[in-house]
Symmetry: C2
Subunit: 494 residues, 2 copies
């Protein structure tokens, strides 16, 4: 039976994925400094094995035969998803894949060298090579998938996401935000005029922050039997669904960044831990894509973690662990701070989407040739001025050189961040409809009902439908920015 | 060129070995409790990939062709070792390999269940199955390798080790030890009558013991850029040569077991870290085998770590970390304690070989049929009485049920422990010949010359020669128990 062969094939790929995931996590958390070279070689060879096995031509035959076999509905979906992933992995010729790896590795290395000093002239030709290559890739993917070039790139990260549906949503959101941001800043100023910001700085030993973080992780539903929390320079959520490896980093003079980071990664971790175990080795049993994943992390970090109701529950725990006695009025202004800034990763809920939409627009312009790399600093600056009122013209380091995505050849990824934020708000609104007491539950540390909805509607669905289908099935409607807009107005409008 | 193909093949196997080594280490040190099932599955599949690739029939052709190619001396050795390992891996039919895995897994599981209560009747039939299987395996290996059955089993662990050379050595050693042990015990009693043992118990926080252990590791030459120390239930030295993962376990009421354990694993780690890097992926670049490996761990633990000269260096460090002020007369009686006991892993330098020789003799008897499993408790007891003067007849848990080796199908491994002890003493003696001031060097924490000798004569040789050849090249003579015997007489005779 072809289905059985494919099942064994998925088990084999699953083992290599498992190895790569744990080796990657280990590298960031436990590897000896001198172990990097042989680790890199081992991972490159294992990735090669993975790619060879995942693109084996005999799979095409097995898939064809399997489609004629007597399969359950779930098995049919599994076959369909495997085929989707097979097509996405085989639609580029292998010499192109090699060229892409070399080009993007070179460009990323140059970026790492040039970024600290904002050396645009060194970086520009490297990025130009990447853009040329990405145009080729987009064209090839578009051809195979029957999609527009940029849609074909997004398809890798979020199956089913299309500019035709995203463009009007982002346009509406941008229009709102450009108008809303000054209001939110004015409202904040007014609040701070009445009650100046109280510094939350102090001396918070790592061990205490870790104990606090672990308590929060467990409270919001993270299963410590299938995961752990450690430390790395760049926080991430890695590992495998049966053993989710979350990391954070601590500063001893403040606690909020680490705590909020932990809540964010816990959102990713909850999704991974609650994927359907019996399908863990099939693509249909894996997390859907970047925007749904980000909706889960932002759900915990923003919808829950910056909700004042949550802080009625959290504040006593924070105080107990850090031996402070803050009031809600001390904490919330920090949790809800809004600032204009140049840096995406430092942005808050209100300004973050403006950073993303800028990139979403520019990467399409770069692909289509409407903008060339040499004009990027000006184009970036113009958009920053228009949306955030900030110039980056004399500061390329904190302008178009700030992110690793483009130099590493990730085009079509950026929209996932803001799509995730929109979806998180839409999911929260859907929960509120059937469970209007959700704030009261959260205020006493009861996350059962919220998590039950997410388990039924998001986590258990894994990759059994496209990104837009999962959202529509879960919330009853297509992507609608109104929920996120309403959320911002409520939290930041007055 | 076939050589180039084999080089790529070794790189691929090296990547899988790397993954399995790190996954194994991670399992013991960092895995979430619930992660075991999917880890076991992933490792089984990766082991299967490894075995399939390592036994690929096309290798036979490549090896044949490579032997006719124009290769350097090192490359020829590499081809020879790869062939040796290929023959060892392919000499059993795959249905037998599967049966062996099932049989030994079942037997090992039964052992884990039956051992705590010493339930011999449950355990006996499982071990009988293993012995039947090991007789078959030994016969098949013997047939392919042209060796006697037991030699063919030892060959997997220590290429070149033969009963014909080991038997007279072990006979001489046993004769000596049976006579020497009562003398050593009497000498110890006399010393303790003059100066009773001072308890070294106290409250030694894990962090202080760890700092002490790290300082010792570094002092004796461990490269912290290519390795680390963590905690696991069963201490081991794992990982890969570029990133050696040592573990230990701590008790807060005593420090010597952890410190001695760290020194032991450091010996293994030094060997791995100093193997020739350019040959890391070829069998000829890996550690030679179990007895040489054990000679390296015992060299650090016994020849260095229990040498009074070492304690002139170590004691001030121990005192500084643990905030004690012991004298040499307080410490050395603990470091040199000798006791008759039932348990191999708890045995000291003097009694350990008697435990090993007993098993060496019995496993040969089990394989040849001179002893059957049902008669093992009596046979074990008889040998324990004769060599150590202890009966285990009513205590099978601490008799023939104490070790995992037999139930897990490891026959021919036990002699490695004592061969390692003998070789370590022989290496020490060889060093003394060219470097008579070694005690003075060690007493001031200078391990450079000792390590230079070991690097030149053992570590850099990796698997470029057989076990006996490496020893002979390093020390100028074949395995000679006189050095170990003299070592024991000096340290324990008076």
């Amino acid at each position: 039976m072809s289905y059985a062969k494919l099942d064994a094939h998925c088990h084999a790929l699953g083992a290599l994925e498992h190895a790569l995931a744990i080796l990657g996590t280990d590298e960031a958390t436990n590897m000896a400094p001198g172990g990097g070279e042989s680790r890199a070689e081992a991972m490159a060879i294992l990735s090669g094995m993975y790619h060879r096995q995942a693109t084996d031509p005999k799979l095409r035959d097995w898939l064809e035969v399997a489609e004629t076999e007597d399969l359950s509905a779930e098995q049919k979906i599994a076959i369909g998803e495997l085929e989707r992933s097979y097509i996405n992995m085989t639609c580029l010729p292998s010499d192109f894949v090699e060229r892409k790896m070399r080009t993007s590795m070179k460009s990323e290395q140059l970026w790492r060298k040039a970024r600290p000093t904002g050396d645009w002239n060194t970086f520009q030709p490297a990025l130009e090579d990447v853009v040329v290559m990405m145009r080729e890739e987009a064209a090839m993917r578009a051809d195979v998938l029957g999609l527009a070039p940029y849609d074909a790139l997004m398809e890798q990260f979020d199956p089913g996401n299309r500019t035709a549906t995203i463009n009007p949503v982002f346009t509406e959101l941008k229009t709102f935000l450009v108008e809303f941001l000054p209001k939110a800043l004015a409202a904040q100023e007014e609040r701070l005029a009445k009650r100046p910001l109280k510094a939350l700085s102090g001396d918070y030993p790592v061990e205490r922050q870790k104990a606090l973080g672990l308590e929060m992780m467990k409270a919001v539903g993270f299963d410590m039997n299938h995961g752990s929390l450690s430390v790395s320079d760049h926080p991430f959520c890695g590992g495998v669904p049966s053993d989710v490896r979350m990391t954070t980093r601590y500063r001893t003079d403040e606690f909020l960044p680490a705590l909020m980071g932990i809540l964010h990664e816990t959102g990713h971790g909850l999704y991974e831990q609650n994927l359907p175990k019996e399908w863990a080795h099939w693509p249909s049993g894996k997390a859907r894509g970047m925007s749904i994943h980000e909706s889960q992390s932002l759900f915990v970090e923003k919808q829950i973690g910056r909700n004042p109701a949550f802080w009625r529950f959290a504040l006593p725990l924070v105080d107990a662990h850090l031996q402070e006695s803050w009031t809600m009025e001390d904490i919330l202004p920090h949790v809800h701070q809004v600032n204009r800034g140049k840096i995406r990763v430092d942005a808050d809920e209100v300004t973050y989407p403006l950073h993303v939409i800028l990139r979403y627009e520019l990467e399409q312009d770069l692909l289509s040739g409407r903008v060339e790399v040499k004009d990027l600093p000006e184009a970036w600056d113009a958009k920053m001025q228009a949306s955030l009122g900030i110039s980056t013209l004399d500061d390329p380091k904190n302008g178009p050189m700030q992110d690793v995505h483009w130099p590493s050849g990730s085009f079509g990824y950026f929209p996932s961040y803001t799509l995730g934020a929109l979806m998180a708000a839409q999911q929260w609104a859907a929960i509120l409809k059937t469970n209007p007491d959700v704030d009261e539950q959260i205020a006493v540390g009861d996350f059962d009902q919220v998590n039950a909805w997410r388990r039924d509607n998001i986590w258990s669905k894994a990759s059994t439908a496209s990104t837009p289908e999962i959202l529509r099935n879960a919330t009853g409607e297509a992507l609608n920015p109104a929920y996120f807009i309403a959320h911002l107005e409520t939290r930041y409008g007055k």
